[in-house]
């Protein structure tokens, strides 16, 4: 972050220029927050207030029942609670497996010499060019063949790791001192134990970046759960949102409550760990939906 504040742009010297620059920046920063404020306010309003012209930003009657209805659903079966749990289970599992498997593969590529190592690395990097949208149908057929529809395995396994994770962990571990590993070997430490006790436990910053990235990507994933989870109780949050919004009699306030609930975990992460969001390598591939 310090590199950014020291950034190579000189300040505006003239006062009007500086004022104009600040004004543009401040007004756009506020403008971009308007839809978020709208979501927060509307999640506590009855429908007639949300659609009032002109719109009042502060709810008149604070309708907390919106949140109850968001969780209970229009059928009153409380399926959203289950879907939130599914999203948590799937996103956390994938964050964990991504870090673990990427660390293993990255370690193998960074610290071991074997023929074909470069071919393996290039092969894995090449998969970054394969967008999910082009392989989703074959993946779906594989998952059906393996009997993974409507299961956590079906939601998790195809995203257990990704090429960017391998890249990140390899780059990180290249800088890890080999002397420490050799010293452990001389002391008779087994290779799996070296990986577990020395490599994995010391890959903190890279692992945290990767875990947050994987968590967010899965929290946002709509296309795959739409395909693989047909049963209501196996859907994840984005799929529930689409279903809830598509219902004709959906209450607008409850809709915004559904959205607000879905946003709480990622916003908590964002405010708590913003350096992992705004840091260079983290944003590099965060745009992958």
């Amino acid at each position: 972050m310090s590199a950014m504040t020291r950034a190579g742009q000189p300040r505006w010297k003239s006062l009007p220029g500086a004022v104009l620059a600040a004004a543009i920046l401040v007004s756009f920063s506020l403008l971009i927050l308007v839809p978020l404020l709208f979501m927060a306010g509307a999640s506590l309003m009855p429908p007639h207030e949300i659609m009032k012209m002109p719109y009042d930003w502060i709810p008149k009657e604070w309708k907390w029942a919106n949140f109850r209805q968001a969780l209970a659903g229009n059928d009153g079966n409380w399926i959203y609670l289950r879907n939130i749990l599914n999203s948590l289970v799937v996103s956390l599992s994938i964050a964990f497996t991504t870090v673990l498997l990427s660390a293993s593969v990255g370690y193998g590529l960074a610290k071991f010499d074997f023929r074909g190592r470069n071919a393996v690395f290039m092969g894995i990097m090449a998969t970054m060019m394969i967008p999910f949208e082009t392989v989703m149908i074959p993946l779906y057929m594989i998952a059906v063949k393996l009997g993974m529809q409507d299961s956590y395995a079906g939601l998790i396994v195809p995203f257990m790791m990704n090429a960017f994770g391998v890249f990140l962990m390899r780059q990180y571990l290249l800088t890890f001192p080999s002397e420490i590993l050799d010293a452990a070997r001389i002391d008779g430490c087994s290779e799996p134990r070296i990986f577990r006790e020395i490599v994995f436990k010391n890959s903190g910053p890279a692992a945290a970046t990767l875990a947050i990235l994987a968590f967010r990507q899965q929290w946002d994933n709509l296309l795959w759960p739409l395909l693989i989870a047909q049963r209501e109780e196996m859907k994840t949050i984005p799929a529930y949102i689409v279903k809830f919004a598509a219902e004709k009699n959906a209450d607008e306030g409850a809709m915004m409550a559904v959205a607000a609930i879905a946003s709480i975990p990622v916003f908590a992460l964002f405010f708590g760990l913003s350096k992992y969001f705004l840091g260079g390598s983290a944003v590099y591939s965060a745009g992958k939906e």
Binding site: G8, L25, M39, G108, R216, V242, A245, L278
Partner: protein, 305 residues
């Protein structure tokens, strides 16, 4: 070194190589099954008459799927919708994120606050973003109120989700709103890498801020501008959630039937896997071309430096 010593070194190396393979093995297995096999399978399926959930064995039909797809107005409409979306989102995303980045690094204070504010929509799920804007685009919603206030046209409904042209604009708006902060951060990082001494020298030589931007920042930022341009385009080709949610709520499908949505509908609704695969292959080739441009440019930049 004695003969025996050499042998132990070699067997040690062999053992090390084996462990290397062991650590890499999960990756080879995973990417073979979930990346390489599916992309080959997509190519393969595109030559077959294959239906979802059909018990009949798929029939090889050569290039018929390609002929069908390439001669169908529906496919070309999707190409048009995707192109309109990509072009329409690219220009504001690129210009605004560059502008915001330049403004942010020129500030002494609140750099981080501004970045966090601009970035916050990127944190949301795409489905949530689409849902919020669905209400804003309601005939009685904020979008109409805002435009009518600014343009002084009280009581006019601009049909954000109903009109063929407007619904394209609406999906673009959602996208620009959601991702402008993300690309701003990439530009901020890129500008941060420009050596400050160059700028200081220009200030001493009496160059103004506008001159410095066009003569120094922009040329030195070229690796980042190429990277960000390609990333924006790839990102735009992948758009799905907004269009899907809007059509689920009754927006007209035609104007915003982007390729990803068409692939999804062809496979799931029409159950025609062969034709869905043809479109997947075409989308893949477009992205491959973009990735290739990105790699080529990043290589030549490295060579120059």
């Amino acid at each position: 070194m004695t003969l025996k010593g050499k042998r132990t070194v070699r067997s040690l190396e062999k053992g090390r190589a084996r462990w290397g393979w062991a650590f890499v093995a999960p990756g080879i297995l995973f990417f073979s099954i979930f990346s390489f096999y599916p992309i080959l399978n997509a190519f393969y399926t595109s030559f077959f008459n294959k239906k979802l959930l059909s018990l009949k064995p798929p029939k090889f039909i050569g290039f018929q799927n390609y002929e069908r797809v390439l001669s169908s107005p529906d496919f070309w409409n999707s190409v048009r919708a995707t192109a309109v979306f990509a072009a329409g989102a690219f220009v504001p995303l690129f210009l605004l994120s560059l502008l915001f980045a330049v403004l942010i690094v020129s500030r002494k204070r609140f750099q981080r606050t501004a970045q966090m504010a601009l970035y916050s929509p990127a944190v949301l799920s795409s489905a949530v973003a689409a849902l919020i804007w669905l209400l804003i685009f309601d005939p009685r919603g904020l979008a109409n109120q805002f435009v009518n206030l600014v343009a002084n046209t009280p009581g006019i409904d601009h049909k954000w989700l109903a009109d063929a042209t407007m619904v394209q604009l609406s999906t673009i708006l959602v996208y620009v709103w959601k991702y402008v902060g993300y690309f701003t951060i990439l530009f901020v990082t890129g500008i941060g890498k420009i050596p400050q001494s160059v700028n200081e020298a220009a200030v001493i030589d009496g160059a103004g801020p506008v001159q410095r931007f066009f003569r120094i920042t922009l040329p030195l930022l070229r690796p980042t501008t190429v990277l960000v341009s390609v990333m924006i385009l790839i990102q735009c080709l992948k758009t799905f959630s907004t269009q899907y949610l809007f059509t689920q709520r009754g927006a007209p499908l035609g104007p915003i039937n982007v390729l990803t949505l068409n692939i999804y509908n062809t496979a799931l609704r029409d159950q025609n896997l062969g034709r869905a695969s043809v479109m997947s292959v075409i989308l893949f080739l477009c992205m491959l071309l973009l990735s290739w441009i990105q790699i080529r440019f990043s290589r030549s930049e490295e060579a120059e430096l």
